[in-house]
């Protein structure tokens, strides 16, 4: 295989992997020496310098990876920030809703209902003091139980948790 095709293969490999890929792994996969991989890397690095390229190749330790060029960061932020933010808000709202109506509840139980990891959402809800930890469940692993705080009830204009139960059954 000529150098150009090897460069294509390396680009494809690095593209698919979200993580850095070891130079030795690449060499083994393409049946070439590490020196040839480094050779490709040097040429690619130059090629990526073109203005028409939005990504670049870099080496961390003995690994290679592709990443976006920093000068395009503002567009990425503009396009994706609203999406990330709305995802975050949705996750937080859903998690809070589940805790509100199912408290006290463990993280696993919440994840079972939402179907996704809620670690981040729990953290941000705790930071905003909308939920807090309240003891542990007497079961294997003794998982932490979460409940809503008084501030949270207050925010939603609720006098006590009984009021939540009252509305839930309606």
């Amino acid at each position: 295989m000529d150098l150009r095709k090897l460069m294509g293969a390396i680009e494809a490999i690095l593209f698919v992997s979200g993580e850095p890929v070891g130079i030795d792994e690449i060499a083994k996969t393409l049946n070439i020496s590490k020196e040839v991989v480094l050779n490709c890397f040097n040429i690619m690095k130059k090629d990526y310098e073109s203005d028409s390229r939005g990504i670049m190749i870099s080496m961390v330790g003995e690994k290679l990876l592709l990443k976006t060029k920093p000068n395009f960061f503002s567009y990425i932020e503009k396009l994706f920030k609203p999406k990330v933010s709305s995802q975050l808000s949705k996750a937080a709202l859903e998690t809070l809703a589940i805790i509100m109506f199912k408290q006290p509840i463990t993280r696993t139980e919440i994840e079972d209902i939402r179907g996704v990891n809620v670690e981040k959402a729990l953290k941000s809800l705790q930071e905003k003091k909308l939920i807090c930890e309240k003891g542990r469940l007497q079961s294997p692993g003794r998982p932490i139980l979460f409940i809503t705080t008084d501030e949270c009830l207050d925010y939603f204009g609720l006098e006590s948790i009984d009021e939540v139960n009252f509305y839930r059954d309606k």
């Binding site: 920030k81 996750a91 709202l93």
Partner: protein, 248 residues
Amino acid sequence: MALNVKLDAFEGPFDLLFHLIEKNQIDIYDIPIAELTEQYIAYLYEIEEKQLDLASEFLVMASTLLCIKSQMLLPQKKDNSVQLELAASEDDDPRGELVNKLIEYKKYKDIAAVLQLKEKNQSKVFKRPPQDLSYLCNNEEFSLTGVTFADLKSCYLSILKKKNRDKRIHPVSKDPFPLIKKVREVYNILLTYKKNVYFSQLLKKTRKTKLEIIVTFLAILELEKMNKILASQERPFEDIIVEIKGGS
């Protein structure tokens, strides 16, 4: 006639008919219906002998073929005008509907083949896993502004609904008011008051649901049975007076 192909290989009666048509190099616009019917039915017999489950659709097609065959054997209604007769014989070909359906089916069979090819090609190309962009927002950066308790409740209900749809099972909600808990609660209230308490007072604290009212009543019956309290009523439908035994 070699009929050693399994029925599983066919996607339905149309598919099987096409197999026979192609094998015999039949002109689809002039199908020798008697011959095709014979082959089709012979095929079904062989399948049956192998004791395979014969889908009813294949039998329906067999009867359709037989019906067309018999229609073609019957003399056509004669019209007075020769021209009309010629025109009519084109339109009234009993095979017409079947041919149209076969052509329509063939169209989608071909498209399916294109799709299969495309699918195969796509299985060799890969996307990139989406980059984790959570760093774009701080963790606290979510907003509950304008979110009301009603929003929270409808959010909760829609999660439950989605979950039920996904799993097609109903969640068994845990009993919100276990009787034993209520018994303790009522007894504690009585202990603190240390005097007669009206049943309505036990419910006063917050607005109660029907279920909670019932459970509270059951708690009183339970405490009565446990010989812990004395319940009395001056008249039917009057408020129940609850008195703790051994209290002042």
